[in-house]
Symmetry: C2
């Protein structure tokens, strides 16, 4: 990079993230976050979820808006398709997480992005969720994410970008590794 180049700007404030890393390392209780959603059953397989606030940085935080989501099964499962399916929400979370990571890592590595698109696919044999075959798992057999990145960098640097994004991704970790889930009745 020469002094006549425009500084790389992918819209990610890397300095703030590095400052946060230092600040939270020094005050680790502030690094404990709790992310939340609320869900109300509507009818059939349809439910309505809201995401409004979370806990972190030692206190209660609010999103700029309350985000609302309808979750349902599709018509081919004899449902009404009032929203995306639960597994599609997981795919949105995973591809959104990896894409944010690509932008953040690119900023940190002085790579100017022009465009990033991705498709994500999760294969599922529904004999699992239908309880028809004990040897078939309920979830995805495999997930594939395909990025297309237009950026001022050679292909090897872009491959390193997506590798580092996986390494720091919360949802990639959630999907690829087991997490303990407690389900309670009030």
């Amino acid at each position: 990079m020469t002094i006549t180049d425009r500084p790389v700007d992918n819209g990610v404030n890397v300095k703030a993230l590095l400052d946060a890393r230092d600040a939270l390392s020094a005050a680790p209780e502030a690094a404990e976050f709790t992310w939340r959603a609320s869900c109300t059953w509507r009818n059939g397989t349809h439910s309505h979820c809201t995401v409004a606030g979370f806990t972190g940085l030692g206190g209660e935080q609010q999103h700029r808006s309350t985000y609302e989501f309808d979750v349902d099964h599709p018509e081919c499962f004899a449902s009404e398709d009032n929203g995306a399916t639960p597994v599609e929400y997981v795919l949105v979370g995973l591809v959104g997480c990896l894409t944010a990571g690509v932008a953040a890592v690119a900023q940190h590595r002085d790579i100017q992005l022009r465009s990033v698109t991705a498709t994500i696919e999760g294969q599922m044999n529904v004999l699992g969720i239908l309880g028809a075959d004990r040897d078939v798992r309920n979830g995805f057999g495999q997930v594939t994410v395909r990025f297309a990145i237009d950026a001022d960098a050679p292909r090897d640097d872009l491959l390193a970008l997506i590798a580092q994004s996986q390494k720091r991704s919360a949802v990639y970790d959630i999907v690829t590794n087991p997490t303990r889930v407690l389900v309670e009745l009030a």
Copy 2:
């Protein structure tokens, strides 16, 4: 149940699901589904995702509408909070999946639901995603789902409902067990 009772109706067509189980067991290639999402990076950590179609029952299926989602990080992470965070999408998928399961299992067991609400929380130490502590994972340390169910059934039957819902849930499986994720560059 006496013949003067109103039939249980939670809005789930259990007969269609049992018929599908039989039909797909006899034609297992139709049970292979591929769920998809597309993602376009906007700026910073903000991306826009769409969910429109999926493959299953031996062909291409379309949702009734194209579902659109903005994914972003919150302002306290130096981002613009243009949408829910990636991990919140996972929580929405998990709680929506378990809630749909509660309704379906209740229908199958002749339990009339009056209301089902749930809250879901995912604990996360962000020193993991910030790369500040190698011993902290990126994802959730633990997830807790709390159901409140008003239904014509004793508490033990409701506990059995939520247990069976976990057993057949795609997203519960995805979160609690590892899934292989391939990330490719076009």
